[in-house]
Symmetry: D2
Subunit: 368 residues, 4 copies
């Protein structure tokens, strides 16, 4: 179950960087959902290498094939298997990593866990694994759009010390996609580009933060006590390569506030609805969505792979040095944007179905 | 499964603040573990109300009863059920909450999800629910201690704007328990006490951060890709009441570093071991423990319940005001310490067993 | 998860024959279900010892207490914990079983699995464990009745070589409960009583078959391919103590027919419905209910516990003899009836919820 | 999760009869298992169409491709994805099934469940789905052989009214594979062949029973109470297409015995072991393996697809007639043999790993 996510909208990914391919099986997608290959391909294109000069130049078209579960343009309710073949694999380029451990990579820990490892291209720890997530999320996006009008949108809010100024209520897909950094603040985006190019030139790498909001999330999603919506989002997002922190709503900065200012007062909303005047809760209270925008933030460390020479040891414990060869991302943030969205989409689709399974009895005539 | 945690060391909690009691069933605990009621009671006492003047004065002895799964002082391998009766419940004290929604509480979202709610004392959203987690974690602690010598230790590292200075490598249970704040920095602890008492006096509340380390964690725990050790820790910790952020290792501050300084160089360790010179990774790389101390941080928002009057609405959408009556914590941080430990313990125990189930074949004579 | 059943209507039992008690936690029951303790107690009374002279005379009132998850007479959607205390436990009576293995009991295999065992009264292998199932099934029965008008009814169809003649379409709860054997054929029931009393007198025991039908099951329940309705029923029923065989519809006798006579022809039914002319399928085709009565049969071996002396060995491998002392059932069939119903109810409730979670999109305007 | 089987050795199948292909993902296979494509292909060849004149003549080579999880000839511990492309699909041949429901097939129930269906070739209800199970079981077989010397062997024990005489203790793979019926009793095999050919000639079909034993199963596998070894076997086997009954050990015939003769006396075995003198228990007591041969039996109904004309209705409820065109099995029994083995293998592999995860503490010095 290590590679399976979700309870009802259940996603299982497979595949390594080098080998037959990577892919995903989605079990539990409701039948009768109109689905087109383009629903999957669109976000795969947003995460694929070589899309701009800011990212790795590995040449992968990442074309998806739907193997099962769709008939005549609609999901059948049975498992949907999606396969993306690996094309540009040059395992020879990794020969020098057979014995040496790249610092802050998974080489050492995979050896520790499994007793050996697929050293060609990072194996299962390669960011290429996220293809399966993104493909599955294309289906989740379509489902959530159709049943609830949910929109999930992420953007780069900081790179290294450069913080963007973005109003979550105003940000749009167009403004995010307008710049290869996927930062919707043009001024910050320009400085980020500069910083990333400088890092590449220096044989160094940068990290940063991705923000993500989900608009139109129905209230009532999330299940106490371990499967709270925020708990599942945190687990989902921390499972992304290079993620080191997750915040919901006010996050760590909220600890500097007091209850009087942090509490979100309820106010009467339009058409008899109940809203909150502020949203420090990030759209989630007691682990359950309250109808406000769900807002999460994910910290990504600077990419471990750098061109500069680093000291390390071999698997025999001998000191050695390593410098990354070939193609890699000096900053994963721009490509992380669709990947962050994918985990939020998968989490929401699962919880939307779970709430459907729970909410089956008529309202009580009178409350106890 | 909403109230179930873990894959092999599987914990299911039940119970509300007011009613027959709260408890937990642990299914999957290995047989032949020496177990005493005191193993559970010790941490229950650390989290119980009324233990100091800093916390809520609700009077609950929180005595655990083991109903099953232990025979002659040893676990039998079958489900261990633990029950803690509720004593001090005065549901009349909650009558005024029948219709009004406490800001930043789960009242509104429970109504939205379930169509009605147990309004007496917070129901399932009460912090009392964590009793089951802490009781189960007493067993996990014993297991991890016995099989791997693991020690899990948390402390309060900040309250509101007061940051403690603590060396994670040096902190001890004694230093944490030396002060009712559970902050091992005496100077900061004193200022925190003052701040908490001031907040109570002001009808306000404070949040803060709990740090937690796990020492002696064997390398190799955690499973790519969704069940990474850091992902499961993040989900576990974010499921705690009032948690709004989780960090592993360098967390958000690591995004301000560059790859060259953030990467943890591997170095030869004692007796042929392999260690890292720094620990920005927080003991986890590629989702798998690397043998260094696992280090996590959890942000807790200021308590939602405050004595000051706040504006809110009733479930009919009418504006009203509320002020907390009776007993509550002006700052949950001191009591959050054993609760944070409990989720780390449950996560580690589960992953330790999972790795045992995976690591069953002999080493390869020669690696491919 | 060994003691957990179901995906959405999730039932976890705990407890041994001797100890604090036995019970169950139900996680996933929809909120707003009217629920009374009597809903649980009714079937507990049908399975409890001492209800007639045909069954064991152990004196247990088996009174259930609902600890959580119900408020003001309705389920809240959170875990429902139910506890039944053990009263009449005389562990001294089992002292002679400390080392000797009862033939065809779980003594030897528990030792083999766990390294030791709770030898007082059968521990977890005691039929007393089924109390948790029956209590949970009372809730499932109420749910299925309310949402779909489902009726689940079992009866004893054979004891040893005595076969009852029963028309499944006509059998009623009244006819089943009319006789302590729970066989609705009065003539067979009388002969069964005689045979059971003779077996008790001879220090021997008898087995038999329980039939169970579910009426009013909506079509569409069951999920290809591993969670087929018949697969889940088979697993559920074979998990009962002493079960050795399960049949759906025509079962083993169907293998003696040919396709031409075994196939159930579809015929137009009332109000545009589609029915089958025969029901060799037992209401399930391709693993999915087709709207006809679901019909299962369960074979129970003769009770292992007998008063006659039997040869066996001790846990040290030494030959010895054993004869059951005290109270036991010479034939479990009468008490097995509510227990068989309970597993059918739990399976159907789970699949009813699963189908609700899947069937969420509008019908297709035109089929591909 | 509908298409996922197992807790630790976790198998997820996908694919329809007509479409991109069928396959399986195995998550949880231990690393360092030597694995060759031939391990999978061998049983795929035993189940594939066209292997003899007794079975369907659909022309499928069923060549497997391993997409992931194997490196340098060894499993890596990460998901193993296996794909078998569909070659010989003529969906036009199924056009007449677009609206008409084949009796005792899944056409009607799939429509009832999903609102429409993939009518080309049976979709997910096609026996072709079992390819994924058989491929995964090839890996389970290799694992069980390597770690425990387990051998799993099935055979045809009856077809229609023809019962084979087979000594389970003596039957061998060679004797099973010696005849295309996979019945190791040559005389019965000859009569079965005749009966099957007659049925084909008559436009009719036959059912029968497959027996399966597992030799060398370690004692201690299986988990009380819902995941008993016999319960999981029953669920696994009843999930096979056309299965209508499952027996463990004495099964239904055991209900005609009495306790005195049915109980399996324990006797001292070689080298201090403990054995049973008889094996009515079928190698499982209290849901846990006792070290004797595990023995199960599965009833398969006569194939639903027959060439004779049958009355049925369309999805609009109109009466019509249908006769199978093209290629189909007049008797699935010979091809069912490797498929039955596959479910036994998957169940045992899973429980073997589960017991490894439980049995982690040292023996007790002294038993309570």
């Amino acid at each position: 179950m290590a590679s399976t996510f979700g309870t009802l909208f259940r996603v299982s990914t497979f595949g390594e960087s080098h080998g037959g391919g990577v892919g995903v099986v989605i079990d539990g997608c409701p039948p009768r959902l109109a689905l087109d290959l383009a629903d999957l391909q669109h976000d795969l294109d947003r995460r694929r290498p070589g899309q701009s000069k800011l990212v790795t130049q590995r040449d992968e078209a990442d074309r998806a094939e739907i193997l099962s579960g769709v008939f005549g343009g609609f999901t059948t309710g049975t498992p949907i298997a999606v396969l993306v073949r690996n094309n540009d694999h040059k395992s020879g380029a990794y020969e020098h990593l057979r014995d040496a451990y790249r610092p802050s990579h998974a080489d050492f820990t995979y050896d520790a866990k499994y007793g050996f490892r697929d050293w060609a291209g990072g194996g299962r720890a390669s960011a290429r694994e996220t293809i399966g997530r993104v493909a599955a999320a294309g289906i989740a996006r379509r489902l959530l759009h159709e049943v609830a009008g949910v929109e999930v949108l992420a953007w780069v809010s900081s790179v290294h010390a450069i913080d963007a100024e973005v109003d979550p209520a105003q940000v749009s897909l167009e403004s995010v996609e307008a710049h290869p950094t996927r930062c919707p603040d043009p001024d910050a985006a320009a400085r980020m580009t500069e910083a990333i190019e400088q890092a590449r030139h220096d044989g160094d790498s940068l990290g940063g933060v991705v923000d993500c909001i989900a608009r139109g999330v129905p209230k009532g999603l999330g299940e106490p006590v371990f499967d709270k919506l925020d708990a599942d989002l945190a687990g989902a997002l921390m499972s992304l390569p290079a993620a080191k922190g997750v915040e919901i709503g006010s996050g760590f900065s909220g600890t500097r506030m007091t209850g009087l200012t942090h509490n979100d007062p309820f106010v009467p909303g339009p058409e008899g609805s109940i809203r909150t005047a502020t949203n420090h809760s990030g759209g989630i209270q007691g682990g359950i969505s309250n109808g406000e925008d769900v807002h999460v933030r994910v910290a990504f460390k600077p990419t471990g792979t750098i061109a500069s020479e680093q000291t390390t040891v071999t698997r025999h414990g001998e000191a050695t040095t390593l410098a990354a060869r070939g193609r890699h991302d000096p900053c994963v943030l721009p490509r992380a944007v669709p990947v962050v969205e994918s985990m939020v989409l998968l989490t929401l689709a699962d919880h939307w179905l779970r709430q459907r399974a729970l909410d089956v009895l008529p309202p009580l005539p009178e409350r106890p």
